[in-house]
Symmetry: C2
Subunit: 198 residues, 2 copies
């Protein structure tokens, strides 16, 4: 039978870290807490993550990746019309963020603090998401459905213009009445801008 | 010669309040500080503003109104083409906010805290700004330059889609390289959406 240390994977540590963050918040969660939750020495944790900062970064990246992985399927669904993919993708992003904020507000608040501290991780996450958007918009430009001479720039514009519906700073507004209509109005206007002849 | 009390206008009190806020921050500024700065009794201040809350609200409203008044002229410039007015208005809003944030960061931070506390004042300010935008978009719909069956809804969508360039939560990004290009890309996409035939 394998010892605890042998089965101690990075993924198990990250799961435990998330649980510790949920219970103690971002300020208090330490490597010792994580090790205790797993019943291992803190040295065993350090073998996978060399610093507390590395552990925080990895757990935050994992949390953000959960969103981008859900969206990647829509970005890659080349059988769907580009406009449909774009609308579905933006709706799925909004939905994913709202669920994260609404289902587990403490954990969401915790990750929002971490995200604020981890510029590099956020940068990569946004690059990942705008990369997916670029793929959809480039497909639309190629098929003639969209006018977008520079799909990457247009993708950034679409991402920025929809910030109200995915930026954690707006989480308070996501439960307000009328937010769905606001979302539809912004997306409708952007789609019309994309459809327009140059 | 009039006594100090006789010349004590609401405007003078608000000017002094802003100065006290600049020096002491939002948490510490009191009516007594304001009265002291003016060389009057705090009773004289209360004669104009019945509570500390009323004074905070009035000074915040005055600060927000400075922005909307600057923009009102563009919204009313009916000799300009609607697209020109819209672009100018959005650029002026971004410029006004950037200046507020950059020229006097302490005061900006102070007002950002106050604004967060004063839901009603902010609501009126946003209604004022989106009202100006509605006027521009309705003019474009009338002249046939824009397609906007419901100018008020479209105005809200334009306001929301440009939040990155006027919402104080993004103030940190306003000095980053590339922000001008990001702004142009969003505005360009929105204008194309407005121009589009239904």
């Amino acid at each position: 039978m394998p010892s605890t240390t042998e089965t101690l994977t990075a993924e198990r540590i990250l799961e435990a870290t998330e649980e510790v963050l949920r219970r103690h918040g971002p300020a208090k969660a330490t490597v010792v807490d994580v090790a205790r939750a797993l019943g291992v020495s803190h040295g065993s944790v350090y073998r996978h993550f060399r610093t507390k900062a590395a552990l925080r970064e990895a757990v935050t990246k994992r949390w953000l990746d959960r969103t981008s992985e859900r969206l990647a399927g829509i970005a890659a669904a080349e059988d769907l019309a580009p406009e449909r993919r774009l609308r579905d993708w933006l709706a799925a992003l909004f939905e994913a963020k709202r669920h994260k904020a609404g289902d587990d507000p403490e954990l969401f608040a915790t990750y929002t603090v971490l995200v604020d501290e981890l510029g590099g991780v956020v940068h990569d996450h946004i690059a990942d998401l705008t990369g997916q958007l670029t793929r959809i918009i480039a497909a639309g430009a190629e098929s003639g459905d969209f006018t977008a001479p520079d799909p990457a720039t247009t993708a950034r514009a679409v991402f920025h213009a929809t910030g109200r519906f995915h930026d954690p700073g707006y989480a308070r507004e996501w439960t307000e009445p009328g937010i769905e209509e606001d979302f539809e109005a912004v997306v409708g206007l952007l789609v019309r801008g994309l459809r327009a002849a140059g």
